[in-house]
Symmetry: C2
Subunit: 212 residues, 2 copies
């Protein structure tokens, strides 16, 4: 499998295509052209064809993509076809609570199975029906529950320590919300969500708008 | 100004470069090479040079980039040099509260000035010293306060309505956390944060790991 050849941006665009195709599900049309998909996603036809071509041939000449087949294929490529990903949420603060209520996780197969926190006031209580466990038990519980991913939503200064524990627990991927770069040995996937970067991206564009 | 030529991904990478350069501030060295910056950001030297070349010539042959000068330039390019961006936070739920506590907004010049909500229980109360205003007063308050951006953190079904009000209020940019595509007339910058896309990106890679 040509693993290294697929750009990260392509993977994000696959998610975008999938979202728009799913949104169309209620319509009855069988095919969708790359032009139509381009209009919906604001991505060029050429780019769409290039992105999809990494994974096979999904379109039919002059007809476009069979929508439901493409949805099925995209879900499979993205690893969200009939699969349950078991997630540890680490940090039961405001962000953790917001993520627990975040729609769209469950419907895509992402299930928060355990919540961990270090605060004795929180440990043992329930959030959305899920028990908050002591962070000290991260390793045994993660192993027992065979957790796939961890969402880190702890304060910045705790993040590195928690991430090392996650790695030790055998969890293979981290989504990190703490504004701190994690330094981990190879063998674990880390994605960082840095919300101030999004605002910076906006300010870049706003500033240019104002220069016109 | 060649506005259309700068890829979105370049702008995100500028933020990454800036973060790593700032992190180095405590060290005393004057220059940093693109190779070093590449190691810190996990981005290729060629890509770094290409990204920066959109905005001028910042490096010096055989010496590298003068670090503080590059930081200053990046801040200016990203629109976060001594500037205050005034932000409306719309939605005082868990996510809104988490965003209010999010470090890194203020130090980059992003100030949440007003909070809006529709819940009579919340209106008039304070969060982190900021008064929660009635969403019905979005337009007059935004105009009076000359707000630059709005962060939408309301339930999905409210997002479109709120976004239209934001546009009417003359705010020029939206950071949208509601899992709903916003349909707005031209003249407003919209960025969507879709947290399930991040998890999908991870599951894509995890699935491939397991295939090896």
């Amino acid at each position: 499998m040509p693993q290294k050849l697929i750009p990260q941006t392509t993977v994000y665009r696959l998610s975008l295509y999938l979202r728009e195709l799913e949104r169309l599900e209620k319509e009855k049309r069988y095919y969708i052209s790359s032009r139509e998909l381009g209009k919906l996603t604001l991505i060029s036809e050429a780019q769409i064809r290039r992105d999809l071509s990494y994974f096979g041939k999904f379109g039919e000449t002059r007809l476009g993509y069979p929508r439901k087949v493409l949805i099925k294929n995209l879900r499979q490529i993205l690893g969200i076809d009939n699969r349950v990903w078991k997630i540890a949420l680490i940090g039961a603060g405001n962000l953790g609570k917001a993520l627990l209520s975040y729609r769209g996780f469950r419907e895509r197969g992402f299930f928060i199975k355990v919540i961990f926190d270090a605060d004795p006031e929180k440990i043992g209580k329930n959030l959305k029906g899920i028990r908050i466990e002591n962070i000290e038990n991260l390793i045994p519980i993660s192993r027992k529950e065979k957790l796939d991913m961890a969402i880190i939503a702890v304060p910045a200064e705790e993040a590195q320590k928690v991430a090392l524990e996650v790695k030790k627990a055998g969890i293979k991927a981290i989504l990190n919300f703490a504004p701190r770069r994690l330094n981990l040995p190879a063998g674990i996937i880390v994605k960082n969500v840095d919300l101030s970067m999004e605002l910076e991206n906006i300010s870049f564009h706003l500033k240019r708008l104002k220069c016109i």
